[in-house]
Symmetry: C2
Subunit: 422 residues, 2 copies
């Protein structure tokens, strides 16, 4: 670790002042560090936004590129010109049909399944790769439950970096194909995500590679703030009332909260209070939801996740504790749902809004549905559902649910026969 | 047919004056018609753009939504508020790495694989559905090689219409799943696309359904013009020098040409000549390429397509003849490539630019590569490659190409062992 600090030239960009420990507040330079040497707390990027003028910033954003780099002033790395085009600034779809079904008058879907590698992970990876290049790394890597693997592999190809992705050997075949095609070295690990992650930490130290979600984590995780910025901008620079977000490590969940907080502080929105921020986990791997339900502050790790929502199968979530705090502070709920509810919700979303999500999206929608049914979301509240991954990568989970009839002969009479039998 | 004219209330929108026969010039109202009753020629939407002011139009476009509806003034249907968000306005990616490989200094990729249902078909479908609703239809349908099925199914779900999609029974399983999940009725037909299409024409007449690519075809096909508009706008309102486009029915190819022509006529660009417009077909179904190579004006239908590029497997392309004319008029080439070249190109695109395309994209890139190698594209020409579909739907074609190693134990020593064996 010390070696990495010495080798890497410090680069501060924009408003970044350095890294700061979330626990003890110790300061560090903006290099490839992620754990506080004093207290082992996680490090986070620290900014001084006092020089930013809100009016000027807003006009800069609005005239910026149609990607997450429109928010470059609020990010910890200089836009990298050879990153994938079109990361972020994804559609916010008004969900008329789904809203009617759930009794919510102003429901929106933030559809992050249409990013270049088809999940929200393109956002943190864009920032991590930009920073890794600033710091002079020639290899990027990650520990992934699947989507991150695709995002790192695609960005690595475009950036011209050597790329290694470490995945649990049991992830969906579609997610492996969707990473291997970009030329990344796939390292399938015989173990859970948490075991993959532990091994990856050792490798990061040993080999001096930039692991997006380990030694690049402070920069990487900031990329997810852009989901909050975009939501507010697309609503006409106002905050929603209630949002529902999937929780794996808790990074996305806490960083969306951070994004909303920054918008308030920077007076980019007139709102003065945070939205209610609810989280969603699968019951087969719901350590944060369990702690929330039980009123604990300690997260009890799930050793063997058993859920079809592989992308949320993190038994020992790094930001679990901070996620609980966000839920408590904003009056949110962290719910959990089972596999059947997940599949029902995948179908519901596709059939009402024309969006095909992976199981993580099913988890989030099923949780929203439960919240709506329990009356925890008012019918006139502006509510946003975050869809973070694409169903095309996890077609296996819905295989067999839509039996296709036997082929019909290409004649009108045969079709009429077919139609009568419906 | 006559019945449909009588039932449908004529709606003219914006600059639309009606339908006009491409062959004899006969005029028709803007209803659900697609064949000239006088000469059986295809009908096309006719506009009177004389009231449009180019400066005003440009500013209207630039301040419009981040979707194809920013060009609503140049389209034949009123934007439909419940259509899928984010159709069109997809990234134009500067292809640095791929350009270096091919010796092209200014190569761009128009990545239409990130549309809501993951292919360019969302564009024509958005327009067709908007028009079908204007005309009062309650059922939409299509004959599809796969991508159109997904686009119609997704749009139908969102629009709240009954939806039927007719596909050859042998299309990729991923493309069937990606349509069935939206709740569409899938009708698998034991035959080629051309047989599916013939049957669908009969059903359109018989049942009074809006078939996007049959009785809605004049409106539907106009949606593809937006690929030309966006390319020019994203290049800073200038036309490229050379473009390469896949050819299935030839509709996309000819409508991109029409889009560029309109930009010149409307003085939205300063250019006065069309780009060189090249087309790409798979050699297992390349009737237009064969006619081009042989110097014929008649397209000889391919009865049994044999190609992995199913989305281009139209043996009897409706706009084949018009495609030939576009190639001749602009100095373009219509090339053809085999399955091996297609797969090589899929890998090349993924590994240089981080974009995973379906075989149709492989066809287009392999054709571009052949043109570049033959010196038919100058190294400083602004060249645009159109990627129209997503590799996640056709994972079957690359299965087995990226063998994954046996799982590695979650220990540093095991990983070191694995790495040494590379």
């Amino acid at each position: 670790m010390t070696q990495l600090i010495e080798n890497a030239q410090e680069q501060t960009y924009g408003s970044v002042t350095g890294l700061r420990c979330k626990e003890c507040g110790a300061s560090y330079p903006a290099v490839a560090l992620y754990v506080c040497e004093a207290c082992f707390g996680p490090l986070e990027v620290h900014y001084d936004y006092s020089n930013l003028n809100s009016r000027q910033l807003k006009s800069e954003i609005e005239s910026g590129p149609k990607s997450l780099w429109r928010y470059a002033s609020l990010l910890p790395a200089q836009p990298f010109v050879r990153s994938l085009e079109g990361v972020g600034f994804t559609p916010l779809q008004r969900a008329y049909n789904l809203g009617e079904r759930l009794g919510l008058h102003e429901l929106y879907i933030k559809n992050d399944a249409v990013n270049p590698s088809h999940s929200f992970k393109d956002r943190p990876v864009a920032v991590a790769v930009a920073k890794a290049i600033e710091l002079g790394f020639d290899t990027i890597a990650c520990a992934s439950t699947g989507n991150l693997a695709g995002a790192v592999a695609a960005a690595g190809a475009r950036a011209g970096l050597k790329t290694y992705v470490f995945v649990p050997a049991n992830i969906e075949p579609g997610k492996i194909t969707a990473a291997a095609v970009y030329g990344a070295q796939i390292v399938p690990i015989n173990g859970t995500y948490d075991e993959v992650n532990r091994l990856a930490s050792q490798i990061a130290d040993e080999y001096g590679w930039a692991f997006t979600n380990i030694n690049m984590r402070p920069y990487y995780s900031e990329g997810s703030k852009t989901l909050a910025y975009e939501t507010a901008e697309q609503l006409g620079w106002r905050l929603p009332d209630h949002v529902v977000i999937p929780i794996a490590s808790g990074s996305l969940y806490t960083k969306i909260a951070k994004g909303f907080e920054e918008l308030i502080k920077l007076r980019l929105v007139q709102d003065e209070t945070l939205p209610v921020i609810s989280g969603a986990q699968p019951s087969g791997c719901g350590p944060v939801a369990a702690a929330f339900a039980g009123g604990y502050t300690e997260i009890k790790p799930v050793k063997q996740p058993t859920t079809i929502a592989h992308s949320l199968a993190i038994g020992s979530p790094a930001d679990g504790f901070y996620s609980l705090k966000v839920a408590q502070r904003t009056g949110g709920t962290i719910g959990q749902v089972n596999d059947e509810e997940i599949i029902d919700a995948i179908k519901l979303l596709a059939q009402t809004e024309g969006i095909f999500t992976e199981p993580a999206g099913g988890v989030t929608l099923a949780t929203l549905r439960n919240l709506a049914q329990a009356g925890k979301i008012g019918r006139d509240e502006v509510t946003v559902l975050y869809i973070t991954g694409n169903g095309l990568k996890t077609q296996n989970v819905i295989e067999g649910l839509f039996p296709i009839s036997a082929p019909v002969a290409p004649r009108l009479s045969a079709f009429e026969h077919w139609l009568e039998a419906r």
